[in-house]
Amino acid sequence: MTEARVTENPAPRAATSAELLLDGVSRSYGDNLAVRSISAEVPASKISVIVGPSGCGKSTLLRIISGLDEPTAGRVEFEGTPVNGVPEGLAMVFQDYSRSLFPWMRVDKNVAFPIKHLPAKERAERVRFAIEEVGLSGKEKLYPWQMSGGMQQRVAIARALASHPKLLLMDEPYASVDAQTRADLEDLLMRIQAELGITVLVVTHDIDESVYLADRIIVLSAPPSVVAEVIEVDLPRPRDHIATKTDPRFVEIRGHVTRLLRSKEQVAPV
């Protein structure tokens, strides 16, 4: 696995096109260290994926990046400014769509939620565009709970798009949908990202998904987590579930990530 590039910590702070910069980010809860000195860069207008074993503090890290939580040490920069509270231009898609969508709002109202302050005309236009992007035109007047899980997650993605995010964070976004829906939503995400040029950061425990989606994979070790390796995924785009996943390079990277996660789990101090 010579091709997989290894980035040494800490990440250099020199002029990079990093949209998001993590510099020695740690978070402990009491004596319990959840993440330990994580440094990584998330490049602009690309899809980056954080992958790690369960309980490795992925969600903690996302909460810190989104400004919902503060690191106990280190710092986060978004577009060159330190994150202090929820930064503007950020949207988050949660794993649990049924709890993230507001059950008392119909689809169109849910999608319009982040842009309530806009003039009605622009708001309507953005809602229409976002709903069309995720392929839900005609479903505007349904309540989320009248839809399937995959459709609900599409609504959540549309809502994020309506806010015109620069950075789209996704916390295990497809962990609660079936395999076919998951594949569809992965392709949907890549299409939208390519179209709109958004910076996307996905957190997942699914190795296949990480390699399939990512331009860059940030592999975390078992807790207390550090960055085990950063891998640039040079698979050609557009990607396809059959062609890409049978590409020897895909198989190679997937094997490498799998070994990384395994070995870390075994070596992790008890």
């Binding site: 989104s66 919902l68 929820v86 949660f94 649990d96 059950p103 008392w104």
Partner: protein
Amino acid sequence: MKLLHEPLSGRSQAVLGVVGVVGVAAVWEAVIRTGLLDVAGLPLPTGVLGGVADLLPDGTFWDAVLFTLGEWMLGLAIATGVGVLVGGLMGAFRSVFVAFEWPVEAFRVLPSVAVGPILVLLIGQGMLPLALTVALSCVWPILLNTMYGVRSTDTTAVMTAKTFGNSDLAVLRTVKIPSALPFAFTGVRIAASIGLLVAVSAELLIGNGTGIGGYILENTANATNLDIVYAATLVAGVLGVAVNLVMAKLDDVVFGWKKGLAQ
């Protein structure tokens, strides 16, 4: 409300309901007529129905019913205003909760009807002390339900709103309050039934002859026609059932989205 089994059709539900009511009345009638139960003053269902027939054209009775309804609605409105406001604040702000927790616990166990005479002493006779007695018993389920409603707002929903740049106050307004409303309404529903009970009880105690309670009291004192007393009680009961039905329907229409939470 539908339990494990498949729901019955509307028609068979109606038929079963009528059979149940008529059946119980018939058995009751039979028990008394056959002398199985022989206590003076027990009502015959047919007699009570006759009493209702006597009541219907009685203007003073309908004035009493209107008085009770007005008193009940005033009390419920006061309780809703206070309960939703205080409960909402207690749910939203830890400091308010800490400040009000023990006063609420202390006042909650006071039997409101017992406070009635004190209210009369303080503010005199009339509808107001009666309505306040009603409010005093109605406020607790509303307050507690609203408080737990606000507090049980889904954390993911709250985080979602925050990641879209909403302040704590905006989250309260756009997420916590809407998601707590059905809980508050359930509180109002519970309170509505309690309120009607307390309204009539308070009238019996401090009503000075007003309302359904006062009407019942007067006719019992005369002991001339107990069937009228039972009939008035029956009307009060039917009123309670009607109130509950209307509230349930309202709940269904306004908070239909709650179905989504059951999934």
